[in-house]
Subunit: 405 residues, 2 copies
């Protein structure tokens, strides 16, 4: 397998560190808009000749297609922010490569009833092109990070092995991470966090289909395992709600993020002030007025989450809570994966949230390389058998857990 | 009198509308960095030939000096934001003109103990040059808006006519303004509001001199008159605390701003995220990276407060609460000035806070023109007799009030 990894930020760099310990691929070309970032990621791998650094603009579809061809890559792994999903997805198709991402094409709220009806949903643009992928016998494996990704694998595992009927599948994400000396330090890309949290959350119900609510709706306190404890969780727009119902039967699917009240208040304030926006505003620059996106300025004022690992303490938990019936009796389980920041820093030099996102697409690439996973079309992780994935994740030194509620 | 008004924003434009109804001056040159703003302010005055529009960079001291000379102006009225105090103050001195402003040179926190000791205080840079003004027999009348300004006049009035001894002088500012359709709409320049509210508040005590506290310290609920009612007020850095003790005897001087809890929380969040900062950050621009000041971006995302008058409802109150002794008995009064937005919009087309700031320097200019106020050096409003000011303000159609507590 020859892989083009696009994006050498926190997650992309962690992908290289995890993949470097595996033998399933021959080459991984690491490409970034900033050539210093791809060079640094490759340089850190102690001369592993399978890795090469390149520069590419992820928004330039033709340049990405050419780069795939030049290196004879058969897989493109997208580790950029979701704005670049569509050009990379199309570049992979044009080059005849398999495509893997960790977040799907962006949504647009319903023009008149944004908090009741879906407009353009997450992934809609990708699924609209599914026919072309199927006809070509080509695979786009979408939403293959930790959430979406591992959370979808858990949903499939529950359906296959734990339940006869499923009432509700609720992805629940929570952490007890803190950063020394910083009052406010998101542990993941603030650009993506704002996008997820301020868009209308989407919910699936079998009778009603997909619909939206007000941001931060249906707050609940979820008790996370391994010492993290109870965290206030709210509905957030997330790919699992769009992916799971396509392949797994469930009456209701939700995603709730354990943001905590302070973080919710901060996001609400950014929204109230218009600082979450991506449309440019005009401000004074050194040589006259310039136009900038407020959300980019928010990101520039905050520390890069990938650089905070040394000062971070605590654990992050991704998981899927499932309620239903087994052998005629009610059953409720939480399938989860916890990463301790101290462990991920010591083992890989990557902070916990970034590492947890990165490990899952590497496991998936290995399953594709060994043909344990095969398919054609635009498919989510729950379209594939779950057991090989969970076993290989454990073999990577990062076991998952299950709690009967 | 020939006046150079620098700054044709909300306050500057209101100055022209108020001055246009008076006869004490021959010429008012209206100059702004944006020539469209000065032209619009002059054009709105229905052909009053005393007003002329010019373009000037308020940071370019030599250009301002030349403009004063070219038009033979004997007074410079500064209606820009406080970053331009020093170049305009020096340009006036260089041109031999009287200088009037509504905010004083900026402070810098104490390097080691910012929330206990003063560093560079508001106005320190101006007072450092007081000798040169005195020797030249020239006048810089500083802090001559509403707060500072009218609030200082009230302090002097209390000392002269209402008290034998003063224990405490506390400026208290509160409003019940709302803006239709907007959750968050500061009624005054957000740049200045952030500067005032997030700098360490300064307090004066006779035994201790000036000292600072944590932001938002000593919360109290103050009951404002004319239907505004109780508002939560907190200590804020403001010029009155630096000006009043120089000319008026009082054991303690404070300034508290009726911000309300939501506004305080918003400012705290901006600070926590670094979005209150003025040092540039690097963000993507249309043609590559650009450097912008986060606080300018916050301002650009919010509506210009001067444009909100039509959608604003309510009243704003500026005033000075004084506690002391008269004829051997304790006394407590609140001297205040309330502007109803509906009235200021109908009469002048200016929103209440902007109009209230603008009327006071026009009254002061008229007192200087008629020689009711005379002096040399760098002087605050409390250095002059209060009664003529308060009478003329009433003659402008905007009476003040007094409440015995």
């Amino acid at each position: 397998m020859r892989v083009l990894l696009v994006g050498a930020g926190g997650v992309g760099t962690a992908v290289t560190r995890i993949a470097a310990r595996r033998t399933f691929f021959e080459t991984m070309v690491v490409a970034d808009y900033d050539p210093a970032r791809s060079a640094a990621a490759v340089a850190a791998l102690d001369g592993d000749g399978r890795f090469l650094a390149e520069r590419v603009d992820a928004g330039d579809e033709a340049a990405v297609t050419a780069l795939l061809a030049r290196h004879g890559c058969d897989v493109l792994l997208n580790a950029t922010d979701p704005r670049f999903v569509m050009p990379l997805f199309r570049a992979a198709r044009a080059a005849g490569a398999t495509y893997v991402d960790m977040a799907m094409s962006l949504s647009r709220p319903h023009a008149e009833r944004p908090y009741e009806e879906c407009g353009v949903k997450l992934g809609d643009e990708q699924f609209a092109e599914a026919g072309a992928w199927e006809e070509a016998g080509a695979l786009a494996l979408v939403g293959m990070g930790v959430e979406p990704g591992l959370s979808d694998v858990f949903a499939r595992y529950a359906a296959d092995e734990l339940f006869d009927e499923i009432e509700e599948i609720g992805v629940r994400d929570g952490a007890n991470l803190t950063v020394d000396g910083l009052d406010f330090a998101p542990s993941f890309s603030i650009w993506t966090t704002i996008e997820e949290c301020l868009n209308p959350p989407v919910v699936y119900e079998a009778e009603r289909g997909w619909y939206t609510t007000e941001p931060f709706s249906e707050p609940e306190v979820f008790d996370f395992p391994e010492g993290i404890g109870p965290v206030e969780c709210v509905n957030v727009e997330h790919e699992e709600v769009l992916l799971v119902p396509r392949w797994v039967g469930a009456r209701r699917v939700t995603f709730k993020y354990g943001l905590g009240q302070e973080f919710i208040d901060t996001l609400r304030t950014l929204h109230r002030l218009g600082l979450d926006g991506t449309d440019p505003v005009t401000v004074p620059g050194a040589d006259g007025p310039v136009r900038v996106s407020p959300r980019d300025v928010v990101a520039a004022c905050l520390p890069d989450p990938a650089t905070l690992g040394e000062r971070m303490h605590g654990k992050t938990c991704a998981g899927t809570w499932v309620r239903g019936v087994r052998d005629g009796a009610p059953r409720e389980v939480y399938l989860y994966h916890v990463v301790d920041n101290q462990w991920s820093m010591a083992e890989y030099g990557s902070q916990a949230v970034v590492w947890q996102t990165a490990v899952n697409p590497v496991v998936a690439l290995e399953l594709l390389a060994t043909r344990a996973w095969e398919g054609a079309g635009v498919l989510g992780p729950e379209a594939f058998p779950a057991r090989p994935f969970l076993d290989l994740l454990t073999a990577y030194g990062s076991p998952w857990g299950m709690r009967e509620q």
